[in-house]
Symmetry: C2
Subunit: 332 residues, 2 copies
């Protein structure tokens, strides 16, 4: 069997058995934004980890050290946010190749620390190494969440509405602008590029959603709305309908797409790295979110069955594609 046949999720499925040997303290192992273990005094412990590897996850031509440091923290903070949690501590490991200089590293750590400080997160340590080829960053982050507030991917119920906490597609539009060097003299592209390079994790919004006690499921949108909503639907055993006219699109994305001929709806559905949150819940959640400060926008409904459907403005329906990124199967 080959890794490209297994795919990333097939591989994860293959290695999962036997990972938990002390199940009584584990609430959630592999399969959500964070792993969850029993804590003390009404709290659960959260842990998440992300690798960032040069030429796989980022290209040095397209990011400053500061931006890369911020982003390495942001992607992990977003996982903590997706559980409704509060970040606590992180360890940061780095392997440094010869082409990365101290000035870049100083900026990288300035970015890591700035993002950490903003969220009351300690950097407790890490490991340092040289690297033959690529710059490698590995961040592991812990957090905690009240056990009566934790939210998982599983839990969405037929009849629930679907909410997101911010614009979709901006990061994909920004990546397009960066890769195609469309930044000079285009304010919209510059704004989108900043959203791609400097994503802001929705930690406060996640906590506000969790604090309502009314949401049924939550996930962060890192792989794209389609891929991440599919995770919610498959783990919850439900379907969904997304109304394309309700997808929150920034004015910058609309203007940039008009100029470049890109389809903003496709970017919103299948682009990744927006790092906004998606949650589900009933009408009461919707009412509560309007006053919660979570800035959530309703974009569709959870349905009975397994169909995942897009409803276009003209009333036509189509299947929601899978989208997302499989590290072992595909070349984007």
């Amino acid at each position: 069997v080959r890794l490209s046949d297994l795919g990333e999720f097939g591989f994860i499925h293959r290695i999962t058995p036997g990972c938990i040997v002390e199940p009584e303290r584990v609430v959630m192992g592999i399969g959500d934004d964070c792993a969850v273990t029993l804590g003390e005094n009404g709290y659960l412990n959260l842990v998440t980890t992300d690798l960032l590897i040069e030429r796989i996850h980022f290209v040095l031509d397209f990011t400053t050290g500061y931006q890369l440091g911020q982003k390495a923290m942001a992607v992990n903070l977003s996982d903590i946010a997706a559980m409704g949690g509060t970040p606590r501590d992180a360890v940061v490991s780095i392997a440094i190749p010869k082409h990365v200089d101290v000035q870049f590293l100083d900026e990288l750590y300035r970015g890591l620390k700035a993002m950490a400080r903003r969220h009351g997160l300690n950097i407790l340590g890490g490991d340092t190494s040289r690297s033959e080829h690529d710059l490698i960053l590995s961040v592991t982050m812990t957090g905690r969440v009240r056990e009566d507030q934790v939210l998982y991917r599983a839990g969405a119920r037929p009849g629930d509405r679907i909410f997101v906490t911010g614009y979709l597609g901006d990061s994909a539009g920004g990546m397009h602008a960066v890769v195609n060097h469309r930044l000079p003299n285009n304010d919209n592209a510059t704004t989108l590029a900043a959203r791609y390079r400097e994503p802001l994790p929705h930690v406060r919004q996640g906590q506000a959603i969790a604090a309502t006690g009314l949401a049924s499921a939550m996930i962060d949108i890192s792989d794209g709305l389609s891929a991440d909503l599919t995770h919610v639907c498959t783990t919850s055993g439900v379907g969904c309908v997304i109304d394309t006219h309700r997808l929150p699109l920034s004015s910058e994305l609309k203007a940039y797409c008009e100029k470049t001929g890109l389809d903003p709806i496709a970017l919103a559905l299948y682009g990744g790295e927006d790092y906004v949150l998606l949650c589900t819940g009933d009408a009461e959640l919707g009412a509560s979110l309007r006053t919660s400060g979570a800035d959530a926008i309703e974009i569709g409904d959870i349905t009975d069955g397994k169909e995942r459907v897009i409803r276009r403005t003209d009333g036509t329906h189509e299947q929601l594609g899978l989208g997302g990124w499989d590290h072992f199967r595909s070349e984007r």
Copy 2:
């Protein structure tokens, strides 16, 4: 300034300021085998992390997948052991290049899980990615230790004795045998190679030492006796004398060195990756260790001042070299 001028410890020193923003829950940040934070019910939380990168930390020709998996866990378990702690949970991230196949990965995870199971450690999750060049493993491990038993590198006092929990130099001898293809028809080399490829972390011994309540400092010997004892001495503000005739050398190492002309004392002092523990304490600790099950061997004394000295069998003294491995400064 260049990274090769800073060196690994200079770089760590440079990035440390500003890492801790919530100091009230941090007992020990960067600078010991584990970071330590306040826990509950009389326990402290421990966290450690290690990167293992192909061509930097290992070569695929010289290890099986199973051995590599075991070792990736063992190096982190050894850090937990060095604090007197009990391992709890781990996350394992992996980036996989095209030349690594599923059979190797199956063996790798079998080794990771076998070592985890032996120590009651859960693998809670991780991140998976492809890699352009090298196989990359990043393990982050948590543990805990009773707050009245935790041991740090700092704490050694003049007059203390120095103890180690096992043979020194075997791993360096084993690496020599592996790299020089001296394995066939040489039982001693095979035994040493197994100690290099399959180190066993001294978790039980670390707990036994901590439970005496009599040790003043502890560290694991990963970079070599010289380098790690130097960490104890500099953080404790003391010196040391090592008696070379007391260094515990295995019969296999002695036989292998006789055959190859290697100096077993040099391997014991400056070789790395033995993953035994070093601790310090007074005569009462020595007496207690004899009945503790920690199998500790006395090898020298902590002294006043800053001198670090080797006392040879013939009575001559010399300075203890630094040894150890600087990822940014040196090519071993």
